[in-house]
Subunit: 258 residues, 2 copies
């Protein structure tokens, strides 16, 4: 059977997260239901990342085996029609080799975390970013973030529910961009890239960096917390609503992206 890979966008609000759980509304279930409408074998799907409840995606990738060789534009449109009542869309589809795995072939995952620094509640970005009222010292956050790049034990930033075999991961990069939004407000976009991440790693890192930004934690306290490999020294876990699975990279790239 021909295998297809697809890039998905979704809004995480109202779902229990990516993974199917009996009797609960998961993103995986939403997508599988749509696929079942166009393929009577009701194929199951495999995703690059199992995002948590409330976490968004700009570029989740899945694969599945279909009965028919679809023209990819038609496949995308057919699935989007069946997804019209969900906050999920297929952005791109591609026919891939039979041994392609959205999960195991991924060579890099990129997450984006958005923080809006403003006094007023969010309106247009409500549910799409973490609002912080206090100004953040971005230089201090960048210095602290720089300590995380490379191969390290990330136990401090790992959920106690994490099922990975080892807390050691290689963080390829963490970049903090600052943008002016309207009315002199600022948006911080924090991007992290790695082959794989621990459970809650990005939100734990962002929540702790935010403490550095407000001055509640010094850079040396951040460094000690990180090096202690002690979960209890992690700052607040930043809320799901600011987090996006932005992109998953493969080599070769089945999607011929820009």
């Amino acid at each position: 059977m021909p295998r297809f890979a697809m890039i998905l966008e979704y809004r995480g609000h109202g779902y229990v997260g990516w993974q199917s759980q009996t009797g609960q509304n998961s993103l995986q279930q939403g997508v599988e239901k749509a696929i079942a409408e166009i393929d009577s074998t009701s194929p199951s799907i495999v995703a690059a990342g199992r995002t948590d409840s409330g976490v968004h995606a700009l570029g989740q990738v899945i694969h599945c085996d279909l009965q028919k060789v679809w023209e990819v534009g038609r496949l995308r449109d057919a699935l989007n029609w069946h997804l019209r009542l969900e906050t999920i869309a297929v952005v791109q589809a591609a026919l891939v080799e039979a041994d392609f795995s959205a999960r195991f072939s991924a060579c890099r995952r990129a997450y984006l975390y958005r923080i809006m620094v403003r006094s007023s509640p969010l309106v247009h970005q409500a549910g799409l970013a973490w609002r912080r009222r206090r100004p953040l010292n971005v230089d201090a956050m960048r210095t602290a973030a720089g300590l995380l790049v490379g191969r390290h034990d990330f136990s401090t930033f790992r959920s106690i529910k994490c099922q990975a075999n080892s807390p050691v991961k290689t963080l390829d990069s963490i970049v903090i961009e600052e943008r002016m939004a309207s009315h002199g407000e600022r948006e911080l976009q924090i991007r992290l890239e790695a082959r794989s991440f621990l459970h809650r790693q990005v939100r734990s890192i962002v929540g702790t960096l935010e403490r550095v930004g407000t001055g509640l934690m010094t850079i040396s306290q951040f460094k000690e917390a990180f090096q202690s490999c002690d979960r209890t020294r992690c700052g607040t876990v930043a809320p799901a609503e600011g987090l996006y699975l932005e992109r998953v990279d493969y080599d070769p790239d089945p999607f011929e992206r820009a």
Copy 2:
């Protein structure tokens, strides 16, 4: 009584528009209800622009007279608390002179229209932009748009319900910016500035420019339609969900904006 001006952000979806109408949910009513919670005189408010049903704001400006001289940060926060169930927020407040009028002192209004060019339905930007599937020729749109700058009779782009005395307006500028969004998609941001606008003028212009972008209308047909001053030669009126009252300028600026 001290007079205050405020910058408002709102999402237009679910409101009949700015202006109060008996028994219907208007933005004006939403804001006046919040103000009545903090000021027993239940003052009425005056806005810079009466946005249509579904139109958003990033920078609507209002003024009202309150009993008390509020510290502006506290005023903003108190109103935002009472607005928490609306999709409206006070972004900034300022104490102004007694003769300041949000409407009549305005020297320039800026509208933003957002078009997303992509094949898939909108997810994160759903309700916040107009989605067009077909690629748009931005150069052709810019050439057509350039014909509108200056003092002209805008009857072609004027709603039959428009109550302005004259169809002659001066359009100060119209700028079309193209941005790359994720997955190689494009966003067009069309910004128009003028002292004042006719009813539906921006959406009529954008809907007609979109026809030029797709090639359904040539630049010379656009020019003829504009010069004919004939409403029936206007293209589709672009939907409200892409339109934002972005900014209102005053001289001097009561908000000390960047």
